[in-house]
């Protein structure tokens, strides 16, 4: 897309009605084109981004000015530490160099300190690549950026993300990343093409913060997991796409669900999975299989249903034009990838797609997630056999473990606020830092719950954040992972919340439901709990209840245990 087209499309995508994700870009050069390119790259993925730009060369001052932000991006270019440093650095004395480094370090400290409470602080590694591209050996400007980059990486700030900007410049090429005409006339360094690559590169950070990260990767089999058609070429003549399968296996290890959706005889595919010596993905890596002769739309829908995740959490890979277009047409929320004609490009495609599942803070739950999803599929199957849901639930031997203000679970708790969409009453997204603040503040209780049953341990899967204010307890956040829905856990969860509120000495408990596109299933949850409606409009409903009046469902078959 051309720049003018992006400007136009970006304006059309702006959603003035819904809340915005606020990003501030600070810089010591001119970056004004970054605004539209950043907003556009996120708005196409349904993140209603709003970008504000700081003033030219005002990073330190601006770090105090902007408040109520979701994220900050900093372009801090060494070429403009001092005007013309790219040609002046070599003639600086060693003392001059050292003084400059000390000055910038102090400024970094001030800026980082001022942004300590922002959820996401993104800064580019210092780079001198553009003006230093011809140098054969290290010079003073290398020394300056090496020192400063060491300093950046030594910062253990939890909200900090350091971006290797040289990767972005390499991808676009130096020549196409910069427009030196504007650098000399008006300190505008980067081109439109650079910004396009740059915001594509850092986008997973924003998608993660907005709960838009994909959860499952579903493969067709013939000409997708291997080259050849099993039913025609035969077991011995198919050739595995090894690199793709290895990449899928890596994803599986990090908690991504791997599944199959293929028109084949189930028995034949199982034979390959179990006995083909070059097959990398094994039964234990593959959570769900829809291998049959039904249409893929129904199969993909069934996969989402059985895993209890949204269709927009799925990525589907297939080689056939027909299937790819069918899914794109019928299920536009599913991300569809088509196998390219050249195998080397296929490997790169999957490598790139791994960012759709970006999840840097691997929690204990992620590591065993594949097992948990597998037991989920087993449970669904048992559910279908038993029929009577209460009987079935009793047979599960469910147990809830409570964790109150548990600092060791911060990563998982923050992750749940960012990834949970369906059973989430207020859909407030919190970073690690936010959760830490709640845990350390007496006006809040952070209650996480784990659930296990006879099939296995689901790990931490539920969260309530209670806020106390003027004699009223308020449920700021109430959410549960979709892995444990349909088990009446939510009723037992409310028993626990109610007990906490009573023990803290509050009489009233208030709460609200904020409607999103995905949380329809809990729109009447507080009604079911027995809360009274205070106010209701299109977007939200607020509730209140006297804790003494709370009855609960007395589901004794779900046991409760204290986690610490």
């Amino acid at each position: 897309m051309k720049y003018s087209e992006i400007l136009k499309a970006n304006r059309l995508l702006e959603n003035k009605d819904s809340s915005t994700y606020k990003i501030t870009i600070l810089s010591n050069i001119m970056v004004h084109q970054a605004k539209d390119l950043c907003e556009y790259s996120l708005r196409v993925d349904n993140v209603n981004a709003f970008v504000q730009l700081g003033d030219y060369d005002n990073i330190v001052q601006d770090s105090l000015k902007f408040k109520e932000l979701n994220a900050v991006v900093i372009f801090w270019e060494m070429y403009n530490f001092i005007d013309g440093l790219q040609y002046k650095s070599e003639l600086l004395s060693q003392k001059g160099v050292n003084d400059l480094i000390i000055k910038i370090k102090i400024e970094i400290d001030i800026v980082f300190n001022n942004f300590n409470d922002i959820s996401l602080l993104i800064i580019n590694k210092f780079s001198n690549l553009i003006f230093n591209q011809y140098e054969l050996s290290k010079n003073k400007s290398d020394f300056i950026i090496d020192e400063l980059n060491k300093y950046l990486t030594s910062k253990n700030q939890i909200n900090l993300q350091i971006i290797d900007i040289d990767k972005v410049i390499a991808k676009a090429s130096i020549k196409r990343s910069v427009d030196l005409r504007y650098f000399y006339s008006s300190k505008t360094l980067y081109s439109i093409e650079f910004y396009r690559e740059y915001f594509a590169h850092i986008k997973p950070l924003f998608l993660l913060a907005n709960g838009k990260i994909k959860k499952a990767l579903i493969f067709d089999c013939d000409n997708t997991l291997w080259k050849g058609v099993l039913g025609e070429d035969g077991f011995d003549n198919i050739k595995m796409f090894q690199e793709v399968q290895y990449l899928a296996k890596i994803l599986s290890k990090s908690g991504v669900i791997i599944g199959l959706c293929s028109k084949n005889n189930a028995k034949d595919i199982d034979e390959v999975i179990q006995n083909h010596k070059n097959m990398i993905l094994k039964s234990k890596d593959i959570v769900i299989k829809k291998v049959n002769w039904e249409d893929k739309v129904s199969n993909i829908k069934a996969i989402a249903k059985e895993l209890n995740i949204g269709l927009d959490s799925l990525v589907f890979v297939d080689d056939s034009d027909f299937e790819v277009n069918l899914i794109k047409e019928e299920l536009p929320m599913v991300k569809v990838l088509q196998v390219p004609k050249k195998e080397c490009e296929y490997n790169l495609l999957i490598r790139n797609a791994m960012n759709l599942f970006y999840n840097p803070s691997q929690t204990k739950e992620d590591l065993v997630k594949v097992t948990m999803y597998k037991t989920q599929v087993q449970r669904v199957n048992q559910e279908q056999k038993i029929g009577n849901i209460e009987e079935y639930l009793k047979s599960l031997k469910l147990e809830i473990t409570t964790y109150i203000d548990d600092i060791n679970s911060v990563a998982r708790i923050s992750q749940m606020t960012q990834k949970t969409n369906q059973f989430n009453l207020t859909t407030k997204r919190y970073a690690h830092k936010d959760i830490e603040v709640f845990i350390n503040n007496d006006n809040y209780t952070v209650l996480a719950i784990g659930v296990n049953d006879k099939f296995g341990d689901n790990g931490i899967v539920g969260l309530a954040i209670l806020e106390y204010n003027n004699n009223i307890a308020y449920i700021d956040t109430l959410l549960m992972s979709c892995r444990v829905l349909g088990r009446n856990i939510e009723y037992r969860f409310m028993d626990i919340i109610n007990d906490i509120v009573i023990s803290k000495g509050f009489e009233k408990l208030s709460s609200n439901y904020i409607k999103t596109l995905k949380n329809e299933q809990v729109s009447d949850l507080y009604d079911r709990y027995g809360f009274k409606i205070l106010e209701k409009d299109e977007e939200s409903t607020s509730y209140t209840m006297l804790v003494k009046r709370y009855k609960g469902k007395k589901l004794e078959y779900i046991r409760i245990k204290n986690g610490k």
Binding site: Y3, K8, R181, Y182, S186
Partner: protein, 75 residues
């Protein structure tokens, strides 16, 4: 071609294309500041696959001159 140029200007300046008369310039259109001038140059270069020189950029003071210069670069 003149209409294509006006459309580019409208998109970059975020105003209605009808407001862009032949004699429109940074003087007559409030949204047209020095930053937008740079964006206009970038957008025109992309739209017509041309490279504008430093002198071109300085001379592109109004729509008529822009038409003239872009025409010249297309050759």
């Amino acid at each position: 071609m003149e209409n294509r140029i006006k459309n580019v200007l409208a998109d970059v300046l975020m105003i209605d294309v009808a407001l862009i008369k032949d004699d429109a310039s940074a003087e007559t259109i409030e949204e047209w500041d020095s930053l937008k001038q740079m964006n206009i140059v970038i957008a025109l270069e992309e739209e017509f696959d041309i490279v504008l020189t430093d002198d071109d950029v300085i001379e592109m003071l109004n729509v008529r001159l822009i038409n003239y210069i872009v025409q010249e670069r297309i050759g």
